[in-house]
């Protein structure tokens, strides 16, 4: 069976797309990650135009973040004040990201930008995760990991407009969260990701936020920034394919449920090593795609 995607303007097999959504949903459920950084490359491998893959994935992340955001709101594990600054920075970052995206689209280099960004980020994150998990697996079990000491980041308090963030128990300037939000916003717009894989470590180790509010606040930021990114991509590039997004979501919600169940059976360190392998494999596949001679030596596009 073939279904014609209205925005991607290619026919696809809907069942294959649903299964792709389920596969990535399974992994994101199992590892507790967003999955945008796996879904976008997978869509590109399947033949969806990269610009459409990015725009569409933004809308899919909005949908798949809803349940997490609701759960954290109920548990009151969202720092709204911090989230607000992150979203403000994220919105500005998304606008800048969309401008870069659009400019490169006009010179025909946006696919290179998308693939290149993925190779760099997946390469760095995959390697770090791999190193970390190898180190943990090698370490003897009696050696306990040092408890992280949360100290007040003094340099952040010395920046202008320092204020108290009650939910996070911090006294810092809003400038670092705005900058962090901005950077993640740029990535969200260019790569079609939520950016949790950068946001969460940055909140923990740079902003020194307490663990209990990190995930909720990150999800809060992600749902707003991906929603803004979706509207911006739709407005500036017409690259949001809602039919494709709904197909992916259908598979994604089912896959995630199964993934969560599978995840409980594996140890955290094994999970991390497995995820690192997957991330590095996707990175390698993208790099090969960039390095191999293209199927057609010319790119022809109908200009509007």
């Amino acid at each position: 069976m073939q279904l014609y995607l209205p925005i991607a303007e290619i026919p696809v097999d809907p069942f294959v797309v649903i299964i792709m959504g389920a596969a990535v949903g399974f992994l994101s459920g199992m590892f507790g990650v967003g999955g945008g950084f796996l879904m976008t490359p997978l869509l590109i491998f399947y033949g969806i135009p990269p610009a459409v893959a990015v725009g569409t994935e933004a809308s899919q992340i909005v949908a798949s973040s809803v349940s997490g955001v609701l759960a954290h709101l109920k548990r009151k594990t969202v720092d709204f004040q911090m989230g607000g600054f992150l979203v403000a920075g994220g919105a500005m970052g998304a606008v800048v990201g969309i401008m870069i995206f659009r400019a490169l689209r006009e010179t025909g280099k946006v696919e290179l930008l998308i693939s290149g960004s993925y190779v760099v980020f997946l390469g760095i994150i995959g390697s770090l995760m791999m190193l970390e998990s190898v180190r943990t697996l090698l370490r003897s079990p009696d050696q306990k990991r040092k408890r992280r000491k949360r100290r007040s980041p003094a340099w952040m308090a010395s920046l202008p407009f320092a204020m108290r963030f009650r939910a996070s128990g911090l006294y810092i300037s809003p400038i670092p969260p705005i900058l962090l939000g901005f950077g993640v916003g740029v990535l969200a717009a260019i790569m079609g990701v939520g950016g949790g894989f950068i946001m969460v470590p940055a909140m923990l180790y740079i902003l020194n936020m307490p663990t209990n509010v990190v995930v909720g606040t990150s999800l809060f930021q992600i749902i707003f920034v991906t929603a803004i990114t979706t509207v911006l991509h739709a407005a500036a590039n017409q690259t949001v394919d809602i039919v494709l997004a709904l197909l992916l979501l259908t598979g994604g919600v089912i896959g995630a449920q199964l993934g969560v169940r599978a995840g409980v059976k594996l140890k955290a360190e094994q999970l991390r090593a497995l995820l690192a392998l997957i991330v590095l494999a996707v990175c390698a596949r993208l790099l090969i795609g960039l390095a191999l001679p293209p199927a057609s030596p010319f790119v022809v596009e109908m200009a509007s």
Binding site: Q2, L3, Y4, L5, P6, I7, E9, I10, P11, S59, Q60, V62, A63, S64, S65, V66, S67, L70, T107, G108, K109, E111, L112, G116, A227, T230, V231, L232, H233, A234, A235, A236, Q238, V240, I242, V243, A245, L246, L249, V253, Q257, L290, A291, L292, P293, P294, S296, P297, F298, V299, V300, E301, M302, A303, S304
Partner: protein, 253 residues
Amino acid sequence: MRALIAFMFLVIGAPLHAAEIDIAFTDDRVEVDTGFSGARLTLFGAVTGVDNPAESVDIVSVIRGPAARFEIRKMEKSNLIWTPGKARVINSAPALYHTYATRNINDIAPLPLQSDFRLDADFLNIAVSDSATAAAPENAKTAELYRNAFLTEAHETGLYRARTTGIEFKKGALFTITVDLPANTPVGEYGVSVFLFRDGVLLDADQTTLAVNKVGAERRIYEFAHNRPVSYGLVCVAIALLAGWLAALAFRK
């Protein structure tokens, strides 16, 4: 048989009434549903003034889509990776060009006639220009390279096509042309021409226009996304939130 008829015409002389070809549509607006992998269009025509047209004449039909602008980039290797190079522009070329003939075009019409009536996409006047200066590229060879790249790509995507099938003689004077439009068929005003040949001589031609429209849910979504992009984006977010919420409800323990 063909040779025999030709011989008979030589002996008996030209037929009393002139041969004519006509095409007619029941409706000069067609709506194609491109929901799946494309659409099929059947055009009707008639050949009059010829006895037993299926055996004695040839028909060539040209379907020409609306003019469009194209950008062509050559993939170049820089260091490790391949990147698209500078764009060359074709300011105006038919977005679709299909030719249907009853047999190999070279057996039907001599080259000058093929060229005059553009019976193959190769005879189209496609000018390549430099995107920055809007002037013709440095040399004719470059222009030719990009022109050929455009034609190759257009044939691969099915937007350009030359077929020796698709024209079928029906009972008596009637014939049909079956046009297979690819899923990415452009909408707009199409020109449809038919040419009647016998023994390499053009007997008659007819042409008409056809407004091609796309219908179906996919088309409505496409038009919404392109005509009101901001509203479309907001609707997408609303749908995503709703779908996510429904999914959360469905799997709540």
